[in-house]
């Protein structure tokens, strides 16, 4: 599992309000700095130490990836000023590295081709289901919703192998149902697998947002003659767009950073970067000039997403804990 799953535990109402209050205040923290500072000098120093400790590893990787192979092999990156030298050769070399079927440049393309559909598909399917759970009454709704909620903590490991067999044989409990999907090759297996695995959390989180739309709005649309199709497309979808966007960031990072699903469902020429990098780490574990450059390429896209959409990222993370 990736680290970036939003909080998914329900919490009581007071805490919910409290977190929401905190979130709001957090955004105005700059304006309120004039308030008296509660932190002492020692605390600030301790914070500085932690911050440096947390940043140095990534910084070292970044510096090393630009140093000539010979230097990386023989001296530490902290001696860069006494052993000066910068180069882009590591990057051009690592993009060509890989196995007989695939190099890292191809794996980068694969990562993109896997991640984009695997982000959009589950979101659309989940928002349809979330709408039904929020605004259509039917018997057994609560039970079904709790069942979906509970599914999100079934470990992926429980589903991987049987799902792989289903893809390759098209059988359920030994009965043939559909033709084998894996015969088609390509990304279809990974797309479908990621879509399935994302659904429980996506349905749960989006339901929280969809159900918070005021009932009057939905009712007004219904009176004006809109059916469920129109209400969903013209009212619910636009209103929940911010929530969908913040979950989309998580799903994007989740799929981009995933290794487990890729190991099982993306073989050979369709493998994403995480899988190829893990492979290179195993086969050329001491070629640090390649590993550092390769790792930096793979974390570049998530870092860009993170820094440009940081506000939504934090908001989405807190949404999981503040919505109940």
């Amino acid at each position: 599992m990736s680290a970036i799953l939003p909080v998914k535990l329900p919490i009581d109402k007071t805490t919910k309000n409290q977190l929401r209050r905190g979130k709001r205040r957090q955004e105005f923290v700059a304006a309120k700095r004039t308030k008296k500072r509660l932190t002492s000098r020692g605390a600030t120093a301790a914070a500085l130490v932690i911050a440096v400790l947390w940043t140095v590893p990534t910084f070292g990787l970044f510096v090393s990836s630009f140093r000539p192979a010979q230097e990386v092999r023989s001296t530490g990156w902290w001696t860069i000023f006494s052993n000066w030298g910068l180069t882009l050769d590591n990057y051009s070399e690592v993009l060509q590295a890989g196995n007989s079927q695939l190099n890292l440049a191809g794996a980068f393309i694969n990562s993109l081709a896997i991640t984009l559909p695997a982000t959009l598909l589950p979101l659309i399917i989940a928002s349809l289901a979330a709408y039904a759970f929020a605004w259509i009454n039917f018997r057994g709704k609560n039970v079904l919703f709790i069942a979906v909620f509970a599914l999100q903590i079934v470990p992926l490991q429980m589903a991987l192998v049987p799902l792989l067999q289903f893809f390759s044989r098209g059988e359920i409990f030994g009965f043939p149902v559909v033709s084998a999907i894996s015969d088609a090759g390509g990304y279809s297996q990974v797309w479908i697998a990621h879509t399935m695995f994302a659904l429980p959390l996506a349905i749960y989180l989006l339901h929280n947002f969809v159900s918070e739309i005021p009932a009057d709005v939905i009712e007004a649309a219904r009176v004006d003659g809109a059916g469920h199709g129109q209400i969903f497309f013209r009212i619910v979808l636009p209103l929940t767009m911010p929530a969908i966007a913040s979950f989309a960031i998580f799903q994007f990072l989740w799929v981009w950073n995933d290794l487990l699903v890729a190991l099982i469902f993306a073989d050979g020429a369709v493998a994403p970067m995480t899988k190829l990098l893990a492979e290179i780490t195993g086969s050329r574990g001491q070629d640090w000039h390649l590993l550092t450059a390769g790792a930096f390429i793979s974390i570049l896209v998530p870092l860009i997403v993170f820094f440009s959409l940081q506000r939504y990222f934090v908001r989405g993370l807190l949404a999981g804990s503040t919505k109940g």
């Binding site: 301790a46 349809l128 033709s179 399935m196 429980p200 469920h228 790792a295």
Partner: protein, 377 residues
């Protein structure tokens, strides 16, 4: 569908993306269209409903390349569904709409999670090729083999250390930087590892841990520190049992940011009046923290602890990339994959079931909580 997917697979990767997305959006648009016109009255709409009820399952199975009897059965079921829907107490077309919204998600969940979970559970009691029932032999194997016991113990160590340390570090950091100058930038620095993949994080930390012979320059930062302090370089990842701790450091590095962001928001939500009241009573900073702030953020703390516990139970990528389970560092999720790769399906499934059983108490807790909340509403 196989033909479509096979055709798709031959295109350049980045061309496949818009095509699959467009095809999917068209499908959803069709669902929304039929859902919209479903409840309308009149013969025309009834006929359209009947046509869709019969044709949709039929076409889906034809596209999936199913067998003629399955296709026929699907069409008949569609017809029955139409009749049930037609006589529905909430009016004709009601069930049709409900089905249109829920069916895609429920179908995928059943095929992708529910059925596989059942199959894995059954598999755990079968032999390596899944042909013979062997009772609890796989579990007996797990709990008698020294290596397998080691795996389970390691997982327990992960779950004990990671949530506690990262929550405490995150809490301390959140308190230290609260209302300080440049709080935003402080946060970004610790939060950034969350965006990095576990594979990337593993490479970063393997680089930190690299060891060179004592007579050469060190290129791993940690060993350089050891040398500066007058020690001899250690190969951190091969010395059991401490290597597990060095792997855990990576997960802590990633998860502290998460704990920090959630707890920081919770701390800012603690009412200022309570803090001021405590101040008037003459408490010092530490007393204020333990007696006002911590009780105030209790439930956020529980959320963070449980979430990180689940993440550390399922940890796989870090172990796989850094040691692949060598030198007694394996964990359950990694061993599950290794056994699968060795064609030991029964044992692999047994590990998956053990993992599930370890996560289960948290599921029950969650389900209870959500049920309580729904009752309150």
């Amino acid at each position: 569908m196989s033909a479509f997917l096979a055709w798709l697979a031959d295109l350049p990767p980045l061309v496949q993306v818009p095509i699959i997305i467009l095809a999917f959006v068209a499908l959803v648009a069709a669902i929304l269209f039929f859902v919209e016109i479903a409840p309308r009255k009149g013969t025309v709409y009834t006929v359209i409903r009947l046509a869709v009820c019969v044709a949709a399952p039929l076409l889906i199975l034809v596209a999936a390349g199913s067998y003629w009897w399955a296709i026929a059965a699907a069409a008949v079921l569609g017809g029955i569904f139409f009749i049930v829907d037609f006589r529905s107490r909430s009016g004709a077309g009601y069930l049709f709409q409900l089905f249109g919204f829920l069916a895609p998600a429920i179908l995928l969940l059943i095929v992708g999670l529910v059925i596989p979970t059942i199959q894995t559970t059954v598999q755990a009691f079968m032999n390596s090729r899944g042909t013979e029932f062997i009772g609890f032999d796989n579990f007996v194997w797990v709990f008698t083999q020294p290596e397998a016991i080691r795996t389970v113990l390691n997982t327990i160590v992960w779950v004990l250390i990671t949530p506690l340390v990262s929550t405490m570090a995150g809490l301390a950091y959140a308190v230290f930087i609260d209302k300080s100058r440049g709080e935003k930038y402080f946060k970004i620095m610790v939060f950034m590892p969350m965006a990095i993949s576990f594979v990337g994080a593993s490479i970063i930390w393997r680089f930190i841990y690299t060891a060179r012979p004592a007579d050469q320059n060190q290129i791993g930062l940690l060993n350089q520190v050891v040398v500066w302090l007058g020690g001899t370089p250690v190969d951190f990842l091969s010395v059991a049992p401490w290597n597990t701790v060095f792997l855990i450091v990576v997960l802590i590095w990633v998860q502290t940011g998460f704990a920090m962001v959630v707890l920081s928001a919770a701390i800012k939500g603690v009412p200022a009046e309570q803090l001021e009241a405590a101040e008037l009573d003459g408490t010092n900073a530490w007393q204020k923290f333990t007696n006002v702030t911590v009780p105030g953020i209790r439930s956020a703390l529980v959320v963070v602890l449980t979430t990180i516990s689940i993440a550390s139970l399922k940890v796989f990528d870090i172990v796989r990339t850094m040691t692949a389970g060598a030198n007694d560092t394996s964990v359950i999720a990694n061993e599950m994959y290794t056994q699968f790769k060795n064609f030991e399906q029964g044992r692999s499934a047994a590990f998956a079931v053990i993992l599930f059983l370890l996560v289960l108490p948290i599921v029950v807790y969650n389900a209870r909580q959500i049920q309580k909340q729904r009752e309150i509403r």
